[in-house]
Structure formats: C-alpha cells, structure tokens
Amino acid sequence: AAMPVSALADTSDKKIALSNNYAGNSWRQAMLTSWDKVTGEAVKAGVVAAADAFTTAENQATEQAAQIQNMILQGYDAIVLNAASPTALNGAVKEACDAGIIVVSFDGVVSEPCAWRIAVDFKEMGRSQVEYLSKKLPEGGNLLEIRGLAGVFVDDEISAGIHEGVKQFPQFKIVGSVHGDWAQDVAQKAVAGILPSLPEIAGVVTQGGDGYGAAQAIAAAKRPMPVIVMGNREDELKWWKEQKDAKNYETMSVSIAPGVSTLAFWVAQQILDGKEVKKDLVVPFLRIDQDNLEQNLAKTQAGGVANVEYTQADAIKVIEGAK
C-alpha cells in the first residue's frame, strides 16, 4: 500500500483496539475479517504497533462497557468501537476519553460528545427504499415492513426513515410490520405468519439480512413476488440474480459495508497522527442496483456480504470532505 511516510514516524508505537459486541452474523464476521486483513497489513508495515480485535460473549452493552474499561487498563491509544447501544456505553467512553484515549465509533455510534462518529444515515437508508419503490411502482401499493431487533437504535432509525418515506410518497401504505431480528430464519418465520392475512403486497421494505427470508416465505405461500429491497448479503444477491435471469425481476439492495471498520481504523490512526478531524463523519451506504448487480455479486464471497475495504487515502478523503 502507498502510505505517506510522514505518518510512519508518528503512530508506529500506537496501539489501536477494536471493541465489537457481536460476532453472530455474516455482517459482523465480514467486518472482523476486513479489520484483520487491513490492520494486519498496517501493523506489518509499521504504521501502528498493534490493532487487536475484541468481541464480547454476548450482545450486551454492559459487557462491552467492561471491555472498554479493560482496554483503558491495557493502555491502548485508540479504541475503535461498534457499540451495542448509542447511549449505554457513554459512561465507559467518557472514562476512556478522560484517560486520554481516542474513541472512534462506527456503525453503532455513541452519543458521548468526546467520541468521534462515523455514521451511516440510517434514516436516509430507510427513506431511500421507499423513494426507489415510488419510481419502480408509480401507482403505489401495499408495503410489508420487516424490522430488526426491538429496542435497538438502528431498528428504530431505519423504521423511522421508512415511515418518513411513506409520508412523502402517500401512494404507499404499510399493511404489516414484523420483527425479523436481522436474521434470515426469524424474518422468514415472522413473514410466513403474517402473510396469510395480508392483502396483495407490492413491496417489502427491509433492514438488511432479512430479504432472502422474506422471499422464501412469500414463495412458499405461492404469492406473486413483490419488489423486495435486499440487504447486500450474498444469498440475497444470488437469489435476485436468479430471478433477474428468469423473470427480469428488478429491485435494489442497500446496506452499510462491513469494511467501514477499516475506515474507522484509518480515521483513528489519522487522529493519533495529529490530524484535525471533525467529530461527525458520514459514510455513504453501499447500494447495489440492477445494472451493477453482477459486478458486485462477483466480488462478494460466497455466503458473505458485499463489502468495501478502505485505505488510508480513502480516510483522508473522507476527513477532508467533511471540513
């Protein structure tokens, strides 16, 4: 990788930790793999001294708070954080900041002002789904909404965005809403349960990781296939490709790229390097459309998630862009 030599001297003795709260799905696994790959090279190249990843046993804010406190003790210079809760870690994050540690949160960001945030506009992600559908189905129709895990921030945000979209495009009506917990099988079960009592569905708005489950349930019920917005998982893309080839099925797919962990890594490195960085950065979500489906599918690991990994240069671009 091409790296500006100036950075080498400044951060080569710095240690960065990744605090992750969940490893139980393909997205998180891709995130960890990307981290491993990119930071491994960076450590080898001497950009930073260490970049260790930590995962808690259970998806719980309390456990992650303890993990962050341990990182403080371990003397890391920066903590890159995918948070279980936007607020419940604030106590621990504040302690880290007070200890002089740089905290960069991404994906699941934290609201503590001392931390940096690399956020995805989840609301916009929800709204854009309805916008896409309004172009695809100008006359509108009934929508089925699949939500994530109740009581979690991301779920609430995307759902709010979707409802905003429906307000903007009143030709759509949400006739059913189920919680799929971002899991294929849970979504499949929930959709199968509500489907029999729903009228004809024109579109399914989702949160990622649940599109294929919905498609399975709808196919099993022998219903006409609505436009299901996908979430960048390989199985979703593959299914879409099959449908596209067979029946010219059209849809779009949107999600946050797991490789954003590597962007957060580089941002942390830049901050350690002394760069002036704004507290709030935004990364675009990764969107796949009808025309670039094949291209993205080819790049995606079987059973994985469509991904983008970032370089130091990308990070600098994002930082500069925010100024």
Binding site: T55, Q60, P86, G151, V152
Partner: protein, 315 residues
C-alpha cells in the same frame, strides 16, 4: 470443645480463593490494574451484578429460581433513565409497584404451588415488553444523584470496592444476622418446622421476594448510574450471571444454603473472569468459548470444596 473449621468457612474459602487467584493473574498480566483507578475499572460494573446476584440468592434461599432477573433489571434501568430522572415521584411509585409485584409473585407461587421457573419465565416476557414500551430505542438519562453516587471517588479504596463491601455487609446483615433472614432461610431449610413454630410461611416467602425485588431495583438503578442511559435489553444476561454468581459463591439451589458474602465474591469473580480473558488476548473466535471454559474451571473447584467438606464431616 472440638471445633474444626466450620463448613461455612470452607464454603466461603473456595470462592474467595478463586477470586484471589484470578486477581493475582490479572495483576500479573496487567500491572496497571493494581491501582486505585485500575481497581475501579475492573470492578465497577460488578456492582449492579452483585446486587442482582443478592436478589437471585434471596429467591434461591426459599428454594425458588427467578428466570426474569435480567429482564426485570432492564426494566428498572428503563424506568430509572426515564421516569426517575424526569418525574421522580412517578418513578419511585413505579419502582415501589414493581417490588409489590415481586412480593405478589411470591404469594401466588406459594398459594397455588406453582413452579417458580415457569412463572418467572412468563414474567420475563412481561418485563421485557414493559421495557420496550418505555424505551423503544435506547436512551434516557441517568438521574444526576445516581450518577454522582456511582462516580464518587472515596478516599483509600475506589467506589467499586467500597460499594461491593457495603453490599456484602448489608446483605450479610439482613440475610444472615437478622431475624427475617433467619426465617427466610428457615423456609428454605425446613418449611414444616417454621410452620410448626407458628410463623406464616406465606409471609416469609413474600418477604423474600419483596427483598429480592428491592435488591434488583437497586441493581437497575446502579447500572444506569454507570452507563448513563438505558435500553430495553441492557441487562438480559444478568439472569444467568446472577445464578452463576450464587453458585460460585457457594450457594445451593435448594435447602436454603446460601452465602451473601459468597454471592458478592461470585459476582466479582465472574466480572473479573471476563477481564482476565480479554487481557489474555485470545483469538476473537474463541473469546466466547473461553468464558464457558473459565466458568467450568471455577465451578470444578467446588468439587474440591465438597470433598473437603465431606472429609471434614466424616472425621
């Protein structure tokens, strides 16, 4: 007078020993932990767990089990971060009501002779639902006074240690020294003999449940004091942690054999085990598994305890 080491002392010695060994290992791996701030960081999240463990221990002392502990603490956390900080009066009222519900569960379980496992399983859904209604998305704000208490910096020892000691002493006093505690443990040990002495077992069980409710409420409040805000899923794992804590501390599922000091030590041990693992830098794949392994190892020490105790008895 032939008095050897009492069974109670041995019961307490093993948990204390395993905590000491673990602490030694942590200090060795991470000398920085050996400081005022270090100890606080290691242990402050153990405070709510210790309180929840005491609550679970009270339920276990009357031969019952509470599978709703985690969701209840989450619910309390949500109440604390919303009502208690905005409308303290209503907040206190809701929490008092929650404690009353706990007492009532004790009454219902006793009167209808229901299995506590199932009733609490049902209640876990109810508390979770209420928590989601209160906080559909994470948020809320810890009341200022709670935050102040939890981040206090007392002289000599950090807050986490002071709080753990206070919890252990208070719980020891209530459960092991007070008349009520004796009565509750008596119900666990031999319900009939308590009845025959003219006590109301119903009242004793209700009291045990209510006390458990109080400790669980304190767990929720102190948790929010540390995290500053709450969410509906914040303490789900407290259910199993609290059971494991009681067992680690030398308690037993039936027979009213419990130890509050042991339970607090158990909670500290569990928390420390997590830190120990993260200092070991195990590969992320196996970090979860290592938690299981360490639980097994510490519990296997109990086998040793039982052997010692039996030898002592047979003597």
């Amino acid at each position: 007078m032939r008095r050897t080491v009492s069974a109670d002392a041995i019961r307490l010695a093993i948990p204390a020993l395993s905590l000491a060994i673990l602490l030694g290992a942590v200090f060795w791996l991470q000398p920085r932990a050996m400081s005022y701030i270090g100890l606080n960081l290691l242990f402050n999240l153990a405070v709510p767990i210790a309180l929840a463990t005491i609550a679970q221990m009270l339920i276990m002392s009357v031969n019952d089990l509470d599978l709703a502990m985690g969701t209840f603490v989450s619910f309390v956390a949500c109440v604390t971060a919303t009502f208690l900080s905005e409308e303290p009066f209503f907040g206190v009222l809701i929490l008092a009501g929650a404690v009353a519900v706990y007492a009532m569960l004790g009454v219902v379980i006793h009167l209808r002779n229901l299995p506590s496992i199932v009733v609490s399983l049902g209640m876990s859904f109810v508390w979770a639902g209420l928590a989601v209604l209160l906080l559909p998305a994470p948020g809320g704000q810890a009341p200022e006074w709670v935050r102040t208490v939890m981040t206090m910096k007392p002289p000599v020892a950090p807050m986490a240690i002071v709080a753990s000691v206070v919890i252990a002493v208070v719980a020891h006093f209530i459960v092991m020294r007070s008349s009520l505690g004796v009565l509750i443990r008596g119900v666990g040990g031999n319900q009939r003999s308590v009845e025959r002495a003219g006590w109301s077992v119903l009242a004793a069980r209700a009291a045990a449940y209510a006390l458990a409710g109080v400790f669980a409420v304190l767990a929720g409040i102190s948790l929010v004091g540390l995290t500053t805000s709450a969410d509906a899923n914040i303490a789900l794992r407290y259910t199993l942690l609290s059971i494991a804590g009681v067992i680690l501390g030398g308690g037993e599922f039936i027979g009213g054999r419990i130890s509050p000091i042991g339970a607090v030590i158990g909670a500290l041990t569990l928390t420390l085990a997590g830190s120990f693992l993260s200092f070991l830098r195990i590969s992320p794949d196996w970090q979860i598994g290592a938690q299981g392994a360490i639980l097994i190892i510490v519990l296997a020490l109990r086998l040793l305890l039982n052997r010692l105790e039996n030898r002592d008895k047979r003597r």
